[in-house]
Assembly symmetry: C2
Homo-oligomer: 509 residues x 2
């Protein structure tokens, strides 16, 4: 591999991480290709290619010499971080050491047991969901929960084993902090959703189920995602069964979406969402690619960027003032008899439902609240697995007033637990909270943004996010970045105010 002159331990550690990133990003290409372009029969060999490269990446990340460099550097930079933003050096050392420590603390046997349980768990989950058979899945889930507890013990935690699991996705966030914000948000949302359900005014969401030719959907989605700031010279948009955003290099960010000819929302809001992720990735400092200052802060912050563009921009009235006439041109057969106000209300229709991924901007948070409270209790052993389906249904009744008739539409609906992703769900809700707080801070700094949106101007907001959020990489953890940018602690106030104000108008509350 090409080597630059390496003078200091810092240079050596940086260079090591950058070389790892070359392999990590190649691994990302293997995975992107698997989901988008790979011929059907190539799957088995692709798994071997991925394993070979993932093994190398893991070995480099837990390399002993690398760890010694980081320990040496950490002892030199430890005092720099008091009462001021971390320097580039301190942030780099902290970030690298954090990743090294976490990966090194998990013994190789536990790591492979976790990987195996996730692989077997996902296979078992697919079948169990098809057969609506939670009992068949339960032993796999029990193994996964037990191993995640072992992982938490190996990683270490202060108050709650779940802390160690959140830490993988949202460093700096604690179980008690998430519990508190989830509780206060839920208590405020449940009556809001109930009053929406009671409203006599019902937006006509059926207009979104008319005929939307796929070619036009693709052109429109690309036009809008480019307009909000996703750079197609440094990225792509392809089709997959499950949409995602991945990074294959500092100038190679790839989005995917799925098109449903009979449903406008899937591709359009899916692309807005993934483009939000992509704009974040494209806004990270490219010179620091593969290093903490060039990496995303946390999954919650990542999700804040996707939710901000999808919901706070893409579902705003002013956005559709600009784009509805354009949408009418693309989909003249389906939208010529629709008013802009009707379309705006349709894309903001609130309806308590069983399925998370189809949920609207308001009820989505309640789906997450349910999952968070259940998985927290599973990990702390307060909830036996045998009681999980009943607990799930009880919470759906309590928070959303709906009841699933099957476990397939209930406790078996998401892939996350079968894949061992405990601690991941809260980042979806944190993303919504951060997004509202960032948006408020952007309007504090830039003035109101809606009049710009109504003329198709998104650059001020995108540039502000580049400067305040994206450019920081991992200089701060999520909670500290939020405070640094907004001046406020994490809170449900802004999200709730936004939802109340929007839905009071739409539903005449």
């Amino acid at each position: 591999m090409p080597q630059k002159p390496q003078n200091t331990t810092f240079d050596k550690a940086r260079q090591h991480a950058r070389q790892t990133a070359l392999l990590q990003s190649t691994l990302a290409l293997l995975e992107w290709d698997q989901h988008t372009k790979m011929p059907a029969q190539a799957a088995a060999y692709r798994a071997d290619q991925i394993t070979a490269l993932a093994t190398q990446v893991h070995a480099r990340r837990t390399d002993e010499q690398f760890g010694q460099w980081l320990a040496e550097l950490a002892s030199q930079t430890a005092t720099e971080t008091e009462n001021q933003p971390p320097t580039d050096t301190a942030a780099t050392v902290t970030g690298l050491k954090r990743q090294f420590d976490r990966q090194s603390k998990v013994p190789p046997e536990l790591a492979s047991a976790l990987a195996r349980s996730a692989s077997e768990g996902q296979t078992a989950w697919v079948t169990a969901r098809q057969n609506n058979d939670f009992a068949a899945f339960r032993p796999y889930l029990q193994t996964i929960v037990d191993l995640k507890r072992e992982e938490a013990a190996a990683v270490g935690f202060q108050d709650h084993p779940y802390d160690a699991l959140i830490d993988e996705y949202e460093p700096g966030m604690s179980t008690s902090q998430v519990s508190s914000v989830v509780k206060s948000l839920s208590e405020a949302l449940v009556p809001l959703v109930a009053s929406i359900a009671d409203s006599s005014h019902k937006p006509d969401a059926s207009i979104l189920r008319r005929d939307f030719p796929i070619e036009a959907q693709e052109v429109f989605a690309k036009e809008v995602s480019a307009a909000i700031g996703f750079d197609y010279q440094r990225g792509r948009l392809d089709v997959t069964a499950h949409p995602f955003c991945t990074e294959i290099g500092p100038h190679d960010c790839r989005l995917t979406t799925r098109y449903d000819r009979s449903f406008f929302n899937s591709a359009f809001f899916g692309t807005m969402h993934e483009a939000g992720h992509g704009i974040y990735e494209q806004g990270l400092p490219t010179a620091e690619y593969g290093l903490p200052l060039g990496s995303y802060c946390s999954l919650g912050i990542h999700e804040s960027q996707s939710r901000l563009w999808e919901n706070l921009v893409g579902r705003s009235r002013s956005f559709w003032e600009h784009y509805f006439p354009i949408a009418q041109q693309y989909f003249s057969q389906s939208l010529s008899d629709v008013k802009e106000s009707e379309f705006y209300e349709a894309v903001n229709c609130v309806r308590p439902s069983l399925i998370r991924v189809e949920a609207d901007e308001a009820t989505y948070n309640l789906h997450i609240a349910i999952r968070f409270e259940l998985e927290r209790d599973l990990i702390s052993d307060n909830l036996p697995l045998a009681d999980l389906p009943a607990a799930w249904n009880e919470k759906y009744q309590q928070y959303l007033g709906v009841a699933s008739e099957t476990n397939a539409d209930g406790v078996l609906q998401d892939v996350h637990w079968s894949a061992g992703l405990f601690g991941y769900f809260p980042t979806y809700l944190l993303g919504n909270l951060y997004a509202s707080q960032f948006f408020e801070a952007a309007e504090r700094d830039l003035g109101e943004l809606q009049s710009g949106f109504s003329e198709g101007h998104f650059t001020p907001l995108k540039t502000w996010l580049n400067q305040t959020v994206h450019s920081q990489g991992q200089r701060f953890d999520g909670p500290r970045l939020g405070k640094h940018v907004t001046g406020k602690e994490l809170s449900h106030d802004q999200l709730l105010a936004h939802l109340k104000s929007k839905y009071q108008a739409i539903y005449r509350l």
Copy 2:
């Protein structure tokens, strides 16, 4: 990486090579993606990713322990290869050792000087070709020629330094053997081409320059390539500036082509050609992927498969008896007033020209003859670089009766020399010779094939090639495989007979 139990030295060497193949095939994906899907600005980082993986692959191929295993195995299997086809073990050891020895004989400094000269040479060539400025390119070419001579000396040869360069692409073939067959073929082709030029019958090739909508071209090319045997469950077809075929795994073979709405031949015959390569790759023993018995024999044999399907099948009268009515359906606007016989003659139009890649089935070989004779003399130092442009023009006059007005259309037309690919050109001509000989042997074994083609049946020929050629991998070198399959030594007889018979009918000679 996942390891199977390794009992013997042979197992260990095989396993080493298979793990290398996981990385090599990942490298192939990086390169395929670069040409087909990669965003514009990702090029610089992609070069770093490719370098990182290529360095690993090279290190594994020249690994000292691996070399010791191979030396040990070679001493055990040396006596097995007398007077009978090599066993699986012997062929595997010979093939692995051959690659190891060749790569190990080139000192690292020479290897990196060669890589640098090729990279700089290609950049200089692009500019020189644009500016029609051979003098600007000459010093780069001189460096490359000097380094290729050094490489030949390092690798070793018996009679001619060019032997060592051919050996990289066509093991078992010698300079004198190529010289001899090129001479005899050229002597027979020059008068044939001249008599064609003198014929008063001129096929109307302009019908191929009508309007052929690209979507229909793509569907038609996929239909035909699938019909001749390319398996799209194990492969793809994409668009690139320069068509190629690459292998990303044992069940992942990818073709590319380019579409010209105003020229039928580009995509159609390009896809037939690449599909021929692909059918060969897909016919190699998948259980031996990454090992000699699962690898293509030589570039000449590879080219024989592409030329066979492109020319001997795709430009045959019986092929168009079946496919012309179908082509008329796809391109009704452009072909409804064309007769099948006119179309057949158009795709077989012979016209001496300056540009190799646009040449027909007959004159193509003369373009190669010219390049071979010049590069052979450059490497043996019988031709000073200063005299190259004049020598080029003289040979074009002599063999094809045409003269280029510029070096851009003359000595600067091909990328090969700028990339250090000396010894590569003859494999194009060898491919045509092998193809004719294989086709004759197939009809010897299967009976005449044309009546099947005229009904759209290609499976007998494809299966025969699978069994006789593809299944052998590298058990034999090219010349020995040809002899094994056809019972005959390499000769120009079959190709010449094919061309004479075809063109006598078309041109009423």
